[in-house]
Symmetry: C2
């Protein structure tokens, strides 16, 4: 048995971690645009990067280092350092030579516009403002935002039965999920749990599949997507079940925060697929629904158009049939194997569910026991507005 | 050698074909909502139907008939007869028993809202207004529209060197391509060419891949998608090359008309992919671009954001690298293997191209010689408006 308790200190929740955000003039008006995470002990790193083949320079730079420990992550917003070729790598090398002398094997992470060289001197000057003794996680979380309308942080203290404890904290950015123009999704997780690199990587991959990879705003995959988990093992404590549960809570919360902040989104919808041939077919259906433009616009219009849901299930390629399918909006069944008559009373009730900010669309395919949950949002005028003119 | 000459008579261009559209009261205000195509000789049929597993009743009804010839197609708009189970099939059976006595093996095709039974009596009453001696192709093309803002027709006379000739004509509907709420894409092609069923099917499949299947408004696949090619062989003439070229012209024109009429679309963009590992990887890249929300909203905003194009190419999964990629907007190269500096002058020129109603985005992946062309449109506020409230 263990307790997982919410704490307010984001990426600084774990022992020995420091963080802050400052303004280096990359964004206008003195808004925070650079952040660091520093640990007073070297950390093992688990990481998951984008599958986009046009991998941004920071990720190529990280990968080229091979197996290593670090105690310092430098993050900038406003510029993704993507599609910048060898220059992009050289810029990182030069910037990282200017780190504080306490720093070992520093890494860099960037988000923002694609195809423009980093403003190197501004970043180097900005680093001089860093104070590695600061614990200002909220300032850091603000500094990594792009079109995010709010910052995204969470942290937990995990207390084990024997009185020992460890911590997990995180910050993330991402509002178009996943938006290549912004090189969107970044998540940095820190822990003082005494977990091995291999175990940490295994757990991170498992949970990413159920959280960040199950969340969609626009179905895109950026050049810069990064999830990084740093452990300095400072607590000397580890319990796999507790660690896994706490990490799931952290990542699930942040993934849903990103969808909630989806560009112009007004609704957060869970797609709960059951009865599929297997889990992977359920995942296919869930993601088809969360990515469908027609479903997303119906959500925005609060139109209880179950026909679009049924048709999208059919178009997903998963095994299904109108004779075994059931569709519910929250607890209201709107299609039941063709046996239900969708009358005006039902339409009225369904429209009430669709009026909520948060609800679940469930599809039971009635084939076997495969299941998956995905998370999506609606698509409205604000999305078009934000994305039709992102750069200017 | 042969000549392909435009004629104005749509699905009635071919000898022995008759067609008309009438109002049966399915749509309000006396707007045309039912059409027929009749041939005075029985026709061989080539057909391609949706891959959606929630196949609409008319398609299941057609397939259940096995191998047959027909001389009559009944088409209604406003109701898709989809997700209607056995009732949907029985309704079609009952309706088709009321056909004129000259009709053999009639088939039915429907488009409109999903999940509502056909208004059977209205359709049966509407059929009484049909006059099988009429040649009113434009009225028929109007009757099959849903959210289309204009009707879509084309026909050609094909003259061979020896003085003989045959005809191909067609009508289509589709504005969200492919929009399940409207069960969107229908295309009916008639010809008097003396082509065998097998050859006609083979050519139809080949050309569908390069036309309708290369065109995308919203990347969806409906419950009712149908392409049907009817040949009564009345001309006694056939030339494979000429037939293929004319059929390509017909289907290419109609596919582009659908994209041009894409819900709320203001731009028609050709994605010309070359230099891919193979044709299928080129197709993957082309379709990723035409389906990308971020590319589509940038088009709407006339924002020459080549970074979104590069990132979408990278996200497609096709083999590619920023060191070999070239991107052009019409003839203006905006990215050349990282060697180009995208300055303000270039941005100004690129913005001019993006201001056009029609342009080409070319990506040369620089890997090998695979190529594909896809067709797409932008996504703007009108799309959201139309789709947020389709049914009400």
């Amino acid at each position: 048995m263990y307790n997982i308790i919410y704490v307010d200190s984001g990426v600084c929740a774990s022992e020995g971690f420091f963080s802050d955000g400052i303004s280096a003039g990359l964004k206008p008006n003195g808004v925070n645009d650079m952040a660091f995470i520093y640990s007073d002990m070297a950390c093992e790193i688990a990481s998951i990067f984008t599958t986009n083949k046009m991998t941004a320079a920071p990720i190529r730079h990280f990968r080229a280092k091979g197996d290593f420990k670090t105690n310092f992550v430098l993050i900038n917003s406003k510029n993704a350092n993507a599609m910048t070729g060898k220059n992009g790598i050289e810029d990182i090398d030069e910037i990282l030579t200017k780190c504080d002398e306490k720093v070992i094997n520093p890494v860099m992470s960037s988000t923002g516009v694609i195809g423009v060289r980093l403003p190197k001197q501004k970043i180097i000057d900005g680093m001089k403002l860093f104070d590695l003794t600061q614990k200002n996680p909220h300032a850091a979380a603000k500094a990594i935002m792009t079109t995010d309308t709010f910052s995204k942080e969470i942290a937990f203290k995990v207390k084990l039965e024997d009185g020992t404890s460890f911590n997990i904290g995180a910050m993330a950015k991402g509002a178009g999920m996943i938006n290549p123009a912004m090189a969107t999704m970044l998540c940095f997780i820190t822990t003082d749990a005494d977990v091995s690199k291999a175990e940490m990587q295994e757990i991170l991959e498992e949970i990413t599949k159920l959280t960040f990879n199950a969340a969609s705003v626009d179905g895109d995959t950026s050049t810069n997507d990064t999830v990084m988990l740093l452990s300095n093992a400072k607590s000397g404590v580890f319990n796999r079940d507790a660690f896994k549960e706490a990490l799931f809570k952290v990542m699930h919360f942040l993934a849903l925060e990103m969808v909630r902040d989806g560009e112009g989104a007004t609704k957060l919808v869970t797609y709960n697929i059951t009865g599929a041939k297997n889990d992977s077919e359920a995942e296919r259906v869930a993601k088809s629904l969360s990515d469908s433009l027609l479903v997303k616009t119906a959500l925005f219009g609060e139109d209880p158009n179950w026909g679009r849901v049924a048709s999208t299930v059919g178009a997903s390629g998963a095994q299904c049939s109108e004779d075994t399918l059931k569709i519910s909006f929250d607890n209201l069944c709107v299609y039941d194997c063709g046996k239900l008559y969708f009358d005006e009373e039902m339409e009225r009730k369904a429209a009430i569910v669709m009026g909520h900010k948060k609800f679940t669309i469930s599809c039971d395919l009635g084939i076997s026991d495969g299941s998956f949950k995905a998370y999506g949002c609606d698509l409205g005028h604000e999305y078009v507005k934000i994305n039709a003119d992102y750069r200017t």
